[in-house]
Symmetry: C2
Subunit: 203 residues, 2 copies
């Protein structure tokens, strides 16, 4: 198999962190997204949506969507579980993963894509008003997340999960999206430092 | 347990269709979203994000996010499987579910929320330009989906899955979002009529 990786972008990074947490090594081919390599004929043939990462299996089957790729590896290598355990545990990871995706990663990404000058050819049309409208949404969710983290170590409970990986890349996307982290969110700050210090964060 | 249901909206409907496909009956309490019941003190206490549906378990644990609620029931009642089977099957359902959510349900919902006059108090600020920018995104994905359906019965393969439920509610949201279905997508039309004719679609 081969993972077509996209370097620094949030979604490729989510999958690399996930693999590092699992201790799984997959052959990587890095595609230069800054040079729009994800829109090349080769990648378009694998994923017509022109997004990375893409996992190509030995029989030619192609998986796109970061979380689908992660779930594939979770099924093949269940330990350590990163999608939760038991019916309720799995549902709580799914809930928090989606809350973080829709109420943090998504609005931060919209602010980045619709305001940052480097994203002009990526997001057409760039609508600055929409980018700005997403900033308070992200900040509101950070406050809710801070409250949730008051009584537990990780986003979905006492165990590290894929929701923490999504949270980490979301918080780190705030810088290029030019959203300042509020300084009074102590639980979130403690969580961030713990998660960012894991070896997997360097992946 | 009790499911706080939101009536006609797409997400509450996804969960009701899922339960109907599983043959599971759950006590429902319908919240009047037109009267902004999802922003009431009672619902906010259950889900601070003020979204429906919400599942309250007997021990007081609360699950929000439609797909998290569905996954909970999938784990408790695996038959018929609606999240796929085997590592690759589960990954393919996850991939198509996410493709449909991010490239169809999401843009159709954005067009609806940012353009429809009835959504003025729901989406603040309403940005018509952003709503309009989403219409071609949805149409482009419908064309890709039509191609994918050329050689299989359902969105993620030969078996009905949660990706078909998401697809169904997305296509039906196109009407209030005022996006006309292209008339030349024959595979998509065949799929839609098959899925809309299942008894669960009336849920």
């Amino acid at each position: 198999m081969k993972l077509f990786d996209g370097g620094r972008a949030s979604n490729p990074r989510r999958v690399r962190i996930f693999l590092a947490e699992k201790g799984i090594e997959v052959p990587l081919e890095t595609v230069d997204m800054a040079a729009l390599g994800h829109r090349s004929e080769r990648i378009t043939a694998l994923n017509p949506l022109q997004r990375l990462p893409v996992l190509e299996l030995d029989d030619g089957t192609v998986l796109s969507e970061s979380v689908a790729i992660c779930r594939y590896f979770e099924e093949l290598h269940p330990e350590p579980p990163l999608f939760g355990t038991g019916a309720l545990g799995k549902a709580l990871v799914e809930m928090w993963q989606r809350r973080v995706e829709f109420h943090l990663l998504f609005p931060v990404a919209q602010a980045f894509r619709h305001i940052h000058p480097a994203m002009k050819g990526w997001e057409v049309p760039q609508i600055a008003e929409w980018g700005e409208a997403n900033k308070p949404k992200a900040l509101e969710f950070l406050r809710l997340l801070d409250g949730a983290l008051a009584d537990r170590a990780f986003i979905a409970g006492d165990a590290f999960s894929i929701a923490d990986i999504t949270g980490l890349v979301s918080v780190e996307l705030m810088k290029p999206a030019r959203i300042a982290m509020p300084q009074d969110l102590d639980h979130l700050a403690r969580w961030y430092h713990t998660v960012a210090a894991r070896p997997s964060a360097g992946a």
